[in-house]
Each structure stands twice: as C-alpha cells, then as structure tokens.
Symmetry: C5
Subunit: 324 residues, 5 copies
C-alpha cells in the first residue's frame, strides 16, 4: 500500500470485509458485496493518486483540485460523483493562529474517498468509531460522509472558543489602566478571524445544497441540514468576532489618545512645579541696589520656604484635579 493511502477498506452491511488494503479491485469488490469502499489519502501527488483515479473513474478536474488543494469550500457534481471541499480548522493558542487545512471528498454510489491536506487529526478516529458502531455504516457511504463533515464542523467550536478567549483578553488589555497597546494583537486576531471566516462562510449553503441531492438518502438529510445549521452558527459567531475586533481597534485608539492626554497633563504639572522656584529665584537674583529682602537676616530661608510652599500648593492642586 502506498504511503499516501492511509487506509482503505470495503464495508458491507456495516462490517469491514477482510481484504488486503490495496486499491486494485476495490470498486468491484464493493459493488459485489453490495457495500462501499472507503479510501483515505494524505496529500497525494498526481502520480500517487493515479491508481485511485482510474479505479473509481474520477473526473480529471476534481482530481486536480484534490491534488493542488487551494480550493474554497464548495460542492460540485461530476456525473454521479459528489465532490465536496471542506476546510479544517485548529486553534494554536500560543501563537493565536487559526491553522486551516483542507479535506476533499469524493462520494459515489459505492465509494467514499477522502483526501486530506494539512493537519486534520481526527479523521482516522472517525473511521475507527464508525467501524466499532457498525450500525451507522449500514446506511452506506453517505453516513460516513456525514460523520466526517460532522467531525470537521464540530472541530470549529474549540477554534471559536479560543478566539473568544483571546478576544476577552484583548478587551481586558485595552480597558486596563496598565496602558499596554495591543494593536498588533488585535490586528492579527482580525486577520486570523477573516481567514477562518473564509473557511466557514460558504459552508452552510454548500451543505444545504448537499442535503438536497438525490444521491443522499432521505433519512440522512436532516443530519446534513443539522450540520449546515451548526456551520451557519459558527459563521455567524465568526462574523460577530470580526465586528467586535473592529470595535476594539477603535476603542483602543481612543484609549491611546486618552492615555496620551494623561501623560501630557502629568508632564505639564511637573514642568509647572519646577518653573515656579526658577521664577522666584530669578527675582531674587536681580541686581537692584534697593531690594530690602536681600539684606534681611532670614531672607534666604524665608524664600526657600516660600518656594517649598508654592511647590506644595501646586502639587496638591494637581493631585486634586487628577493631573498627578
């Protein structure tokens, strides 16, 4: 078995048949057994994908898309084969980055092919769980498709939670008196949010359309509609984050301005406090012959006291008015 083919098997009446994991003959075996074949690939090259393409008679264009993998989420039909592109998302909390991967799915009457690009960890577990439960697999490849889509969309929730948490932190930073300026963080969160939004936004329409296709068994339709609803919920939340981040960016600008004003007031207060002794000292530094205070015995300490007093009064008034 080629290294890019993670797993492949034939399922009939919910049970995995005992056969070697090679692609050759898969389709016929599946059709003979009245079941379906399920092949999983990871980042295949054109050459590596060739055998799968031939076995299941996949359309050239869909195959190209599956190999290059820079698609937006979409649903396409090539003859009877459904081609579905989904984005996987994962939140890397320490970098505050939404890591976007891609899963491309081919669904035929007797086969399901999954092509994974980037990290989409849980897909293997989906197969394991389905194989153990068995019952779901009796409904054919559509049920397996639903399980995968459900898993991928379900994995958006922790991403939402991660972004929400970072947004909460950013809000706290912006409105805290500490005076940090999280503008870079806000911007980058917004960028990640935008990318995530692009991954999610086209999904509800695609999944709703999928639910209406004749290839999907009627009893599965509510399931696809349900996951479409969930995707719509995620898309709405992400859009809301974008709007909040725009608001926080503007609030931050105001906060920066306000802090700037506070700094300016503090500086100015100190400048004023220093300017007063300089002025008084300047007056007694004048060289007039007739300045009675200069001859007084306690003139000097008196002036020092005057200076100190003036400074203290100023200091208190600035304190009171909140400038210091």
């Amino acid at each position: 078995m080629n290294a890019v083919i993670v797993d492949c098997g034939v399922y009939s009446h919910g049970v995995r048949l005992d056969r070697p994991t090679t692609v050759a003959g898969l389709r016929k075996e599946a059709e003979d057994a009245g079941g379906f074949a399920w092949v999983g690939l990871v980042e295949p090259t054109a050459a590596e994908f060739e055998s799968v393409k031939r076995e299941f008679d996949l359309h050239k264009l869909a195959v190209e898309d599956a190999i290059v993998a820079h698609q937006r989420p979409k649903l396409a039909l090539y003859d009877d084969t459904i081609f579905l592109v989904l984005k996987t998302a994962q939140y890397l909390g320490e970098d505050e980055v939404v890591d976007i991967g891609e899963v491309l799915l081919f669904l035929g009457p007797s086969f399901l092919i999954t092509v994974r690009h980037g990290d989409a960890g849980g897909l293997g577990q989906v197969r394991e769980r389905l194989e153990q439960e068995g019952k779901l697999l009796e409904h054919g490849p559509g049920a397996a498709l639903h399980a995968i889509v459900d898993r991928i969309v379900g994995a958006y929730e922790p991403v939402l939670a991660g972004v929400r948490e970072d947004l909460d932190q950013v809000e706290e930073q912006v409105f805290s008196p500490a005076g940090t300026n999280p503008v870079e963080r806000i911007y980058k969160l917004r960028r990640e949010t935008l990318e995530f939004s692009r991954a999610v936004a086209p999904l509800p329409a695609a999944l709703t359309a999928l639910a209406g296709l004749p290839q999907i068994a009627p009893e599965l339709r509510p399931y696809f509609r349900d996951v479409a609803d969930q995707a719509a919920h995620v898309a709405e939340q992400v859009e809301g984050f974008g709007s909040l981040l725009a608001g926080v960016l503007q609030a931050n600008l105001t906060q920066v301005s306000v802090r700037q004003n506070e700094d300016m007031r503090r500086i100015s207060a100190w400048v004023a406090i220093i300017a007063v002794p300089t002025m008084i000292a300047g007056i007694y530094g004048m060289n007039f012959e007739h300045m009675p205070e200069l001859g007084w015995r306690y003139g000097y300490p008196a002036v020092l006291l005057l200076i100190l007093g003036a400074c203290l009064i100023l200091f208190r008034r600035f304190r009171k008015s909140g400038w210091l």
Copy 2:
C-alpha cells in the same frame, strides 16, 4: 415526576384533564381525548429527556439540539413535528448585560413540548393564563405555541428600553463638559447589542415561515405574522442601536481629542504666564556696570509691578480667547 419536568398536562376543548403529571401515556390520552399534551422541561440531560423522546417519537437530532442548546433561532421540520428554537432576552440593568436564554419547542398534531435553558421566567405564567382563559386552548397546541412566542418576543421590548436608556446616558456622558471617557461602556454596550441582535435577527424569517406551514391552523396565521412583524421591529431597533453606538464611539474619540487640545492650551497659557517674570528677572540679573534702573530707589518695586502687570495682561488675554 422528574424534577426537570416542570409541568405536563392534557388539554381537551380548552380544559385541563385531571390526571397525574407523568409522561407515560400522555400522547395516547391526548389523542383519545381529541386534545393535546403540553410538557414543559428545564435543562434536561439526555437521560432525563429519554422518556419524553420515546413517548412523542421525537427526532434524535432535534433532541440533541434541545439538550445541548447552543442553537441560533431557527425553524426545522422533522417529519410532521415542528422544531422551533427561540432566544429569550432579559436586561440586567445594573451590569448593562443582555442575558440570553434559549427555549426549544416541539409542536406535533397532539402535543407541545417546551425545553427551557437559562432564565425564561414568564413561561409558567403563560400556561396559567391560558388555562384560566381556556378559550384559546381550544385552538390546539398551535395557540399555546403562539402564546409562548408572543411572550418571548414581547419580553424583548424591555430589553430595547434598557439599552435605549443606557445609550441615552452614554450620549450625555460623551457630550457633557465633565470630560469622562465612556469608551469601555460604549464598547460593552455594543457587544451586548451584537449578541442581542444575533438572537433576534433570524427570528422574523423563521416566524414568517412558521406562519406558512400547513400544521398551523389558518386562523392562527395572522397571529404568527403579527409576532414576526414585532420581531422585525425589534431587530430593526437593535440594528439602529449598533449604528448609533458606532457613531458615539467615533464622536467620543473627537471629544477626547478636543479636550486634549483644551488641556494643552490651558497648560501652555500657564507656562507662558510663568515664563514672562523669569525673563524679566533674568534681564535685571545681568551684571552690567551701567544699568541705570538698578540704582533707582524704586527700581525693584517698579519691576515687581511690571511683572505683575505683564502677567495680568497675559491672563486676561488668555481668558478672553478661551484658553483659560
């Protein structure tokens, strides 16, 4: 009766039948009596909901949604059963927080099941009122559904009023000469408004669609359309608040800038007033041998008067031009 089941009864021709409040057999009793069963639950677990699910043959997906309860407002059909998700809203004035709850409703030909998450206080009163009036309940479970929806949407009005009041206060703060900076308050109001908007925005379409379903009796349709109109009105108001809050955020930035300028002018005026005596004193502190003023008898008081005069003139001019 399980604790999560708040109440359950069978209504026939507008009258509540005398029976124990247990779930078992509800449906049959209701059908036999030509009436309908009405079950109310609060935050049930999957296990707790199991008996209700079996009794009324509810769809697995809708049940999952009803237990997890992180849905957007929506209308879904599972076979003949209408599944409606609504958000309840309550304004906590002292925290300026819109508290969002969730009510999920199952409507079948002979039953109405309400699942409440979070605080949705008035629902119990709806039942009481309906039981007393009786007449409305003759129209079947749809009339009870309408009463609940009407109650929930009606409860949006005080939320609107609360937000409007806070918005008025914020406007006053922004434009008052006191110079406070309500940027955090504005931002948080905006966040709450956004969340409320997400709770309300999908409602008009869902209720309009509901009004068109064949399960809803024709004479009830205008009622659902009326409440859809009311929801549209609320959604419009909320959107308007969002727009006003964005405007107030920007106006506040301008106000902060303007106040910054006013502070700067005041500071600068005082600096100038202090700088003048320093300059004059500096001149008479020069050590030239031939400075006639220094020898004058009243040179010193004259200079003091000069200094005082200069300061007064400056002070008055700054006053007049509004800098002080």
Copy 3:
C-alpha cells in the same frame, strides 16, 4: 360622537351624505348607498375603538396595533381588509429633531378608517379638499387612501429640506476657520436621520405591494406606484444624508487634529520667543571677573537691542512659516 372620533361620514358618488356623525349603522348606510364610510380617529383607547371595531368587523390584531401604535411601516391583510401602517414626519427646525407620528389605515370595500397617533396635522385638510373636489371620491375609498398616503409622503420633502439645510450648516461649521466643534450636532443629526430612515425605508416595498393588491382599482395603481417611487426617492436621500454625516464626522476629527496642531505651533513659537531673552540675559548674568561687555558703557542697551532684535527675527520667521 366620541371625542377620539374626529369625523365620520358616508360618501356616495363623490358626495357626502347628510347624516349624523355617529358610528352606529355607518357600514350598512354606506353599502346601501353604494358608497363608502370614512371614519377618522385620534389615539383611541381600546374601549373607545370598540364600537368602530364591531361596526366594521376589524381583526383583533390590527386593532391592537392601531391602539398601541409602535409599528414599523407595513402592509398586512386581514381577510379582505387592508391594514396599512405609515409614519408621519415633521421637522422641528429649532431643535433639529424629526418628529415621527403614526397613521394606521383600514381599507375595506366600503370603508376607510384612519387612526392617527402624534401630530399628523394635514389629514383633516385632505378630507376637506377631497370633499370639495368630489370627483376623486367617486373612485371609492382607495382614492381617499391614496390622497392620505400622498399627503404623508409629500410631507417628507420639507423634512428632507430641513435636514439638508442643517447638514449644509454643519459642513460650513466644520470647514470654517472659526474652530468650533459641532460633533454633538453631527451626532444628533445622524440619530434623527436614522430614525427618519427607519420610518421611510420599508415604505416603497409596502406601497408597491399595495399597488398590486386586487382590492385596489386598476386605474389607481399607477398612483400608488408613483407615491412608492417618491418614497423610494426620499429613502435614498435619507440614506445619502447618513453617509454624508458619517463623512462629516470623520472630517471634523481631522479638522480638530489640524487645529490642535496649529495651536501647538503657535504656543511653541511664543515659548521659543520668550526663551531667547532668558538665555541671553542668563549669559550676562554670569559672574566671571573678565567679561569685557559688562564694563562697556552701552553694553546694557546693546544687549537689550540684541534681545529685541533676536525676538523680532524669530517672530518674523514664525509669521512667514505660518506658525503665528
């Protein structure tokens, strides 16, 4: 006749029948005469509206709306009766406030009922004018309805004119060198504009739908379409005002910043002009034994001249570069 009933009459072939202005029997009289009844009410309570409701068999929901009157502009159908909600607008120039009222209309095959909330002055004149012209009333209650709608929408134009004038004044204020900060005025104009926009925006669609109803005579349709066009024109203008006010708010922020900079330059220039004499005086205030200038006969006046010259040169340069 109840005080809330402003006027009520029966019109047949364009002529008002001579009868007491009481509600009882209105409908039958109108139907017998092959004409229609026209009843005008002002802010009725539920009790006061009761007789009208019974006489014309109005739907409970529409009646509730007509009494509470916090509706958005809308068109609803209750059986054969058309229910139309319109907002009246009036510009109170001295307060720069758009005063919004509400008119609710019931149109049946043989009656027209108008319910007015708030000031909607001209409605009485509409009836007078129609009664004098007579001919229009031959077309039945639809023609009267059109006359009212036309009046209400026509009254939007002076509101537009008032807002436009205030916007022009605000623009002038923002860009005038006088340096006022009309941010509060801009914000409040924006708020009024938003409210007016909510009153007008749903109208074109409602009136276009109205024009298509079978209850409206074909020859009246172009008239309703025309007033729908006019409403669309108003809505577009109002939206444009909103956009301009957003722009003016931002332009004002720039102007405030620019003026801030100009003030800072002016202040700084004066500080520099004062700092130079202080520095020069400081130098000649040093106590070195060997400072030849100190012994010069005209050292002191020379230094004074130097100081004056330096200040003058600085002053001129600042003038030239536009800082003073």
Copy 4:
C-alpha cells in the same frame, strides 16, 4: 410655437416631413405617415405642457413628474407609453462640482417626447446627427430614444475622468511633504460622488428592463443592453471612487497626525537647544565665593565656547535622528 418647445417634427422612413413646428395634429400626421413625431421641451410649466399632454394622451402622473422633475432614474409604464427618467451629468472642473440635470422621456408607438431640466446640452445635436444619418430613424422612435440614452450615458465618461483627475490631485496633496490638509476638498468630492452615484446607480436595472419591453424592437435590444452595460461600468467606477475617497480621508488623518508629531519634535529639539545655554549660564551665575572658573582669565570665552559646542552637538544629533 411655444418657447419651451425646442423642436418638434414628424419623421417617416428616416426623413423629416416638411411641416410647421406646431404641436397640434402631430400625432395624426405621424400615424398617417407611418412614422413618428418627436417633440423636445425645456422645463415646461403645467400650462405649457398641456397641449402636448392632450395631443399624445399622456398620463397625468407622468406629466406631473415631467414638470416637477425631482425624480430618481426610473422606468415606468403608463398603458402603452414608456416613461423613462434619466439624469444628465456634467463636470464643472473649476468648482469640482458634478452638475446633475434631468431628462424625462415619453415613448409611444408613434411618438417620442423629451423633457429637459437643467443643462443637457448635447440633446439638440443628437437630433441633428440622426436627421443627417436618416437611416437610424427608420427604426422608429425607439432608435431615437436609444440615441438619446447613449448620449447621456456617454456624457458620464468625462465626469468620471474629471473626478478621477481630482482624486489623483488629492492623493498627491495628501502624500506630498508640503503638508497641506485637503480634508474639505476630499469631503466635497465625496459629496459630489455620492450625488453622481445616486444619478447612475438605478440606471443599469432600468435600462435592462427597458431592453426587455415588447415596445422595443428586437433588433434594438442589444443596443439598450450595451448602454446598460456602460452605465453599470460607470456605476462601478463611481462606487470605487467613493471607497477610495473614504480611504484617502483616513490616510489624510494619519498624515496630519504624523506631521503633528514631526512639528512637535522640531519644536522640542529647539527648546532643548535653547535650554542648555540657559542652564550653563545659570550655573556660572551662582554667587559662590569659591568658584575658581570665575577668576580665570579666559573663563568667559571658554564658557561661551562650551555653550556653543554643546548646542552644536545637540543640533547635529537632532539632525541625524531626523528631528530637525
């Protein structure tokens, strides 16, 4: 011929019939000749328009619109007569104003009536050109209508070019080091752009709808679709200008802020340069008995050199760091 009637003629098989330019009898003559009448009016009053209205049996509402002329671009049908409202635009470069006029057109099977409000210069030339070419007029009044619409939409291009040029100039101003603040110019360009946009935006839809009307000959349809495309192109460009002007407004605010900072740095640098001599002079102005430097022969020039040196070093450092 009334002064408001610019020209009127009957065209048959592409040739203008020789007849007096009076309205009376126009329609019959045109129908008899199997051709069409073309009447051009300028800002008629109701009285002046009366004869035309009667001759061609125009609808009262369209006539009112044509006289008042504050319509948005629209297409309306009154029985068989097409009523089209267009806005003409002209760029007055020296004032940077988009001058909007209005042309209202009535198209019947055997007539075309044009009503012009404001300056719409080229319309007369359209008729001249068509009369010379003749061939186009064989296609009936629809071809003449197209020629007029084509002319009006074609005249939008120089407006676009004018706005684009002013936008280029504004961009240059904003980013030039000269430091002018073109905020008023930006705002006014935006206002003009908005008005122009209102004149153009509804056009593509109206013209596309026009192209689909049965009154328009099939061979003319591509021509109307083509001009609709052109209008869409203009509308798109205008919208783009609006977006760029919003961007330039914000960029300008940043530039103003940056220049403010540069001014502040420059000022501060000079203040620091002046403060150093004052400080040094202050030190040697102290009256200690034992200050050896004061007795030095060359103490004074040494200190002057020290001061000069310190100032020079500061000046150079500020230069290097770009503050001066």
Copy 5:
C-alpha cells in the same frame, strides 16, 4: 497579413491546416473542413478590424466594444455568437502596481476570435501548447476558449501572491519599532486591490452563465465551472485583502499615535532633567546677603554634585518607567 492580426489558422480534428494566414475565406474553409478558425488580434483599429468583422459577420456593438476596450468583465450574446470580456492582470512588483489588460473573445460555432489590449503575454503560448497537444482542439473552439480563460484566471494567482507579500511587508512595517509610516503604501495597495477586484468580481457569475449556454459542449461545462470556482476564490481573496488593508490603515494610525506619545514622553523627560539644574543654579544665584552656603569652601563643588545627582536620579527613574 495585417500587423494587428497576430495569428490566424483553421483547425480540423485537432490539426492545423496548412494555409496562408489571411483572413479572407477563413470561415468557409473552417466550415468546409468541419473545424474552426482561430484569429488573434492586438489592439485593432476599426479599420483594421473591418475585414474580420465582415468575414465572421460580427455584431456592430461587440466590435465597437472590442476596439474601444473599456469594458467590465461580461458575457453577452449577439445572435449565436458569444462575446466574452475578460481582464488580464499582472503584478509589477517593484512599483506595487497591478497592471490590468483586456481580452475580448468572440465564439461562434466555427470560429474563435481573440482581441487583446495591453499586455496579455501568455496567450500566444496557449495556442502553441494547444497545437502541440492537438487532442484538446478536437473539441472545437469552446476548448480553445476554455484554455484561454483558464490561462487568464490562472495568471491571477501570482498577482494575489504579490499583493499578499506586499501586505505582509506592510504589516511588518506598521508593527516594527522602527517607526516608519507606510500610509501612502497602504493606500496605494488598497487602490490597486480595488482595481483588481473590479477586474475579477464580475467573473464568477459570467463564467457560470457561460457554462450553462447551449453553445458550450456538455463535456466542457465542468471545465468552465471549475475556472469560475477559481475566479470566485481569487475574488474572495482580493476582497479579504481589501478588508485587511482597511484594518492595517487603522492600526497604523494607532501606531503613529502611540509613537507620538513615546516621543513626547522622551522629550518631556529631557526637559525635566535640564530644568532641575537651572532651578538649583537659580537659587544659588540669588543675591541674599545671608546665604551661608555661598561662603562655604566646597559649596560650589557640592552644588555641582547635587545637580549631577539630581539629574542622575531623574534619568534613572525615567529609564525605569520606560520614558527614556
């Protein structure tokens, strides 16, 4: 062969027929051979295009568009002939300019005509590659059309990459401590992005419509849909860039404000450090007779030390609080 005609040939069963490259007779030859003619032109004048127009009976309007070439991307039908307008894009990295060209295509049952305006380099290579592969050309002119569209849309990807790279650089600049102000660069990138967006945005709809036309062979439809998807992907990315650039513009304004504050603090700290010695020196410059410090032997050095110490303490405190 005219210079504006780059190449023209007849293809039958995937093979290019051996014939002179003249336009005359092309169509008949192609029809006789059961193949199609392919003519490529570069910026033709009306005169130069005349022979092609006559040979293939092209519609006057499409020909005008093809000569003037200031069209938005669009799809139009003139009888049986498909007229498609596309924009080519190229990123000139050193100037950060998106260079937009135009390609206009006529597709008939037996011909494909390409008219190129501006630089659209790769089109010649498309023909070469197709001629070598041959097989594709068997599918008729539609396949050649697809190859061209695919090439043009494919060439958008490097433009995206270029803009993304510049955006990354701009982000780095904005958030780097170096303190440059890339506002002009941001604005110009935004302008280019907007222009690119206008070139791409109408494409997905046009190509999707094209894929549905009966003139396109069913087996080619997925290909056109695929390239429509790719165009939608590009349009989405471009829109995302626009949103990010708007965000970066605002973030930059905040950064400029923050840096302004930092500069102001640094300046103020130095002013304070200089003001302290001036104040102390001023005090010992007073002329009181009884100032014991003045008579002390080491008064002067002690004061110098005091001054130095005060300055050092201030310097350290400012360092610690991050002002210096």
